[in-house]
Amino acid sequence: MRALVWHGKEDIRCDTVTDPEIEQPRDAIVKVTSCAICGSDLHLFHNFIPAMLPGDVMGHEMMGEVVEVGSEARGKLKKGDRVVVPFTIICGECDQCRRGNFSVCQTTNRKKDLADKVFGHATAGLFGYTHLTGGYPGGQAEYLRVPFADATHIKVPDGIPDEKVLFLGDIFPTGWQAAVQCDIQPTDTVAIWGCGPVGQMAIRSAVLLGAKQVIAIDHLPERLEMAEAGGAITINFDEESVVERLNELTGGEGPEKCIDAVGMEAHVSPSMPDTVYDRAKQMLGAESDRPHILREMIYVCRPAGVISIPGVYGGLVDKIPMGQLMNKGLTIRAGQTHVNRWTDDLLHRIEEGQIDPSFVITHTVGLDEGPEMYKVFRDKQDSCIKVVLKP
């Protein structure tokens, strides 16, 4: 089959690879009908996430049709079922899964020893990501083996286009969880840094959850325009001070809830000297992530507010203002998304017509064009916000 394969820094290729095979009785094979390139794939593209190996199949946003089912998954899945595959692989049985903390499933990370050493305790297995999260082959491919498939799936009805439900596997629940863990009140201002796909979903989620005002921060005109279309007030950080504008919009109090939908690769600009410092340290390997957004959120957030972090961080960050964080009594909520905790509700909202996540798709291409689209997406060329691939 064909698949997008990681070969090194900025080197993704559309390779011919062997077909995946059922290994365990709970596995299933899915014929991928649609998959997408995620912003966090770019961290792998840049080799900022450790423990990738040449030959790893990329992709953790995918859906398709079940074509083969292991003996122990047959009660829950059958050939022909249409499924979205969540990016977190879950057993559904461990203590964390039973609590709904699916992204820290205790069972599914097959490289647990390695992850225990790096993270202290292993997190769930993830598709198409680092070997710290199991090194499972991803879904930017024609076929995907889904381990623990009896639990790791979201069944979707026929009749809804792929584009409307594909993002149930990652960015929609990720934006939703980012907003939910802010516990948005009707009087709240929610500020969202980053208007990429997750930021766009977080904006829509905050609007649906009834925030008084939603403020979106970015510098790319097309992304700000899409944010505005979704009901956000926008701040272009190239043109105005984020802190001053946020204070102005909140009567000098700062936003109650702040969402970091940027993560480890904050934009670098000489007008924000800390970003240049971070970039230099990152190049030298002295810091893995660029946490400009975290610093700005901690500074501007209203005391006793909440900082929600769906943006991916990979390792070590520098110069985090702990004094501000501690003295202001801020709450930080972070984590990979507990996808299956939210998907029944979100699928219902899509079916009801409350939201149509396909609004974010700007490019749809074949798998062969995938390598080039990584570059286009990374360089924000052609107003690219979200790429869907059709294997």
Partner: protein
């Protein structure tokens, strides 16, 4: 063929590469990579054995300068190998200018190694040409074209419009493990002793 070795980290049913297809790396990216590694190699050589350069060029006594240039080359290399490769390659072009200026000072008639300096100058000029080609290539390949971006003005994501979407999910119950401090309105109608209690 690194992917072949890495197959030891994969299980039996994992896909394995049979043959490789087109890459996201363009010709300009590959040139940048090659020049980046060249910078690293030259930088290490200048740092470790500066006297070899000064002796060959008749510039004895300038070892500290060569070491400083070695550090500079390492900087060029690191940036050229990073996602900021246009910056790295343009910094190499600027560095080439400095190298040429420095070599010109050694083109004195009384320098017995003047011929070597001429060869070095020719080499630097050749590399400068490659650097300019590479820098222009990666700048063109990775820049956002000027002009109007596409319009996403109508991409609300809300089939029934933004206004009807506001608060449409108010029925959603935030799980207890994700609750925050209550809003003022939620506590203002309670008795003072109740306000102090956890929500």
């Amino acid at each position: 063929m690194a992917y072949y070795i890495s197959n030891i980290a994969r299980s039996k049913g994992d896909p394995k590469v049979l043959h490789s297809g087109p890459s996201s790396l363009g010709a300009a990216d590959r040139l940048a990579k090659a020049l980046g590694w060249f910078s690293i190699g030259l930088g290490v050589a200048e740092l470790v054995a500066p006297e070899r350069f000064t002796r060959a060029l008749g510039m004895e006594g300038k070892e500290t300068l060569v070491r400083a240039y070695g550090v500079r080359e390492l900087g060029h290399g690191i940036v050229s190998l990073s996602p900021d490769k246009p910056l790295g390659l343009w910094s190499r072009v600027a560095g080439d200018g400095l190298d040429i200026a420095t070599l010109m000072t050694a083109m004195r008639h009384d320098n017995p190694k003047r011929d070597n300096v001429g060869i070095a100058l020719a080499a630097v000029l050749g590399v400068t040409l490659l650097d300019i080609i590479g820098a222009q290539g990666v700048t063109t390949r990775h820049s956002r074209p000027r002009g109007r971006p596409r319009s996403y003005r109508n991409r609300t994501g809300f089939p029934q419009g933004v206004q009807s979407a506001r608060g449409a999910a108010k029925d959603f119950q935030v799980p207890p493990d994700m609750r925050a401090a209550p809003a003022l309105a939620a506590v203002s109608d309670r008795a003072p002793q109740e306000r102090a209690r956890p929500h």
